[in-house]
């Protein structure tokens, strides 16, 4: 089977409008969580969120931005950064065969602002005032499709939807398709933009969100005894992945290798996590990667900071690693970025790739009092160096609906070159 490597990275997140800013902030233990100043938030039980550091509309052509839902805007910014980072050109300067390029870019909810915004317009001003672009803006495939238009991808556009696992699923899907020779190169990732009264109220009604409104930067505290729910985040994250041969032929800088992906479904509960499904997803990913638990130096946990989710994942990781538990550094970058739902998998896979590339794991901040009996080694509060040499890591994403997708990356095939 073909080897698939990672050659470009891009992101627009609560920690920065691009990946270098985001990565620096991650290493420094910076929180991207703040109070939502808007009036609509004041009546909610949760009034904090991880809002984008840079409004994507502000860094795009104004007319182009008008035709894109916010979720598509994030996707476009992240995708174009990843594409340029991979050393690839656009339009007349593109050197990629469009028929061998696919897009796999997921989202949990899609164009919510466009959907609800136009419903508001219809109620206030009537049907004639509904934007003629409403449908192409609200549909969940819009981010993926818009990116495909811009980069000229003709081998297929895929937009997996699996809640918080969407973008890990998108990565896994493209990984499979490239190995099946449906394409040689792919733009993969995820996006989410649902910081809006309805989802904030709805997640709040589920008791899923942290209510630490008076200390927003301390609210996201995965694995801490005082975790009380996740913090909703927004943003986009994308990678360029391609076959090793395709990358070498064009002299691309390689960040690492995608070596395995494992998917399971719990078939048990729509919102509660299941250890069995998580463990098997990780095991499947390792099996495909021809690795054993002892080979895993680092795990970027799903780690949402919920009282239900954190301990279940900790137990899954313990079960997976067995005696190797002390040789593996676990972290949850959601402690800083919040939970980007459909973009979480991609952002956290990027963080995992960067951790291996730079041999340093970003911290899990706010870990003042770890829950008892976690039994895993967490990079608490400060970044943790990783050993030199060959490394492999797992990124987990577990979504409402019982979706579990684990992605395994290694630093094989890494080439020296300008790193962002």
């Amino acid at each position: 089977m073909r080897t698939v490597v990672i050659t470009g990275l891009g992101a627009s997140t609560p920690l920065g409008g691009d990946l270098p800013t985001t990565w620096s902030a991650l290493l420094a233990g910076t929180s991207g969580v703040s109070v939502i100043e808007a009036d609509w938030a004041q009546e909610l039980s949760t009034r904090i969120a991880a809002q984008a550091a840079v409004d994507p509309a502000s860094v795009m052509d104004r007319v182009a931005a008008r035709k894109l839902d916010r979720s598509s805007q994030f996707a476009m910014v992240a995708a174009l950064e990843a594409w340029a980072d991979a050393g690839l050109g656009l339009d007349d300067e593109s050197t990629v065969d469009p028929d061998r390029l696919l897009v796999s870019l997921g989202t949990g909810i899609g164009g919510l602002h466009s959907l609800l915004g136009n419903w508001d317009v219809q109620k206030e001003k009537g049907a004639r005032r509904v934007s003629p672009l409403t449908i192409p803006m609200l549909m969940a495939n819009a981010p993926a499709a818009n990116v495909s238009l811009r980069i000229g991808a003709r081998a297929g556009v895929h937009a997996p939807v699996s809640a918080c696992a969407s973008s890990n699923e998108a990565i896994a899907l493209a990984f499979d398709l490239i190995r099946l020779e449906r394409a040689d190169i792919a733009l993969v990732g995820g996006t989410e933009a649902v910081i809006h009264p309805l989802p904030m109220a709805a997640f709040g009604q589920m008791q899923a969100l942290s209510r630490r409104n008076d200390e927003p930067e301390k609210a996201s505290r995965p694995f801490d005894v005082d975790h009380d729910g996740f913090v909703l985040g927004e943003g986009g994250a994308c990678m360029v992945i391609e076959t090793l041969d395709h990358a070498k032929a064009r002299g691309a800088r390689i960040y690492g290798t995608l070596v395995g992906a494992g998917t399971t479904s719990d078939a048990r509960d729509m919102v509660s996590p299941d250890a069995r499904g998580q463990v098997i997803a990780m095991r499947k990913a390792l099996y495909e990667a021809h690795l054993s638990p002892a080979d895993i130096a680092h795990i970027n946990a799903h780690g949402t900071s919920t009282p239900t989710g954190d301990p279940v994942e900790a137990s899954s990781i313990r079960e997976l690693l067995g005696d190797a538990v002390n040789g593996c550094v676990v972290t949850s970058t959601k402690s800083m970025t919040g939970h980007l739902l459909g973009a979480a998998g991609a952002l956290e896979t990027i963080a995992t790739v960067k951790a291996l590339y730079h041999h340093v794991v970003p911290p899990t901040i706010n870990l003042d009092n770890p829950e008892p009996d976690l039994g895993i080694d967490i990079a608490a509060n400060v970044s943790r160096p990783l050993p030199a040499g060959d490394l492999a890591a797992i990124n987990n994403s577990f979504g409402f609906g019982g979706h579990n997708v684990s992605v395994v990356v290694s630093n094989e095939n890494v080439t020296a070159g300008s790193a962002t």
Partner: protein, 81 residues
């Protein structure tokens, strides 16, 4: 009541806002789709913006006959009379 030139200018701002066309390009003899490259969905938005801006009604049947900037300006002038 606005002059032809005033209407053209305000329309030009709308076309610029919706479709990014340079204000000075929005001249009476220009076709929206052929010369100014405005697509059909943007035309719909432009029509609605005109209804709001000029306080006129432009039903869909009439809107589809407004091919040039001049057609639109003339329609608005008549509607305002």
């Amino acid at each position: 009541m606005a002059t032809t030139e005033e209407i053209r200018e305000q329309l030009a701002e709308i076309v610029n806002d919706v479709a990014g066309v340079a204000v000075e390009d929005v001249q009476l003899d220009k076709s929206f789709t052929e010369d100014l490259d405005v697509d059909s969905l943007s035309m719909v938005e432009i029509i609605y913006a005109c209804e709001d801006k000029f306080s006129v009604s432009i039903p869909d049947d009439d809107a589809k006959n407004l091919r040039t900037v001049g057609d639109a300006v003339a329609y608005i002038e008549r509607a305002q009379a």
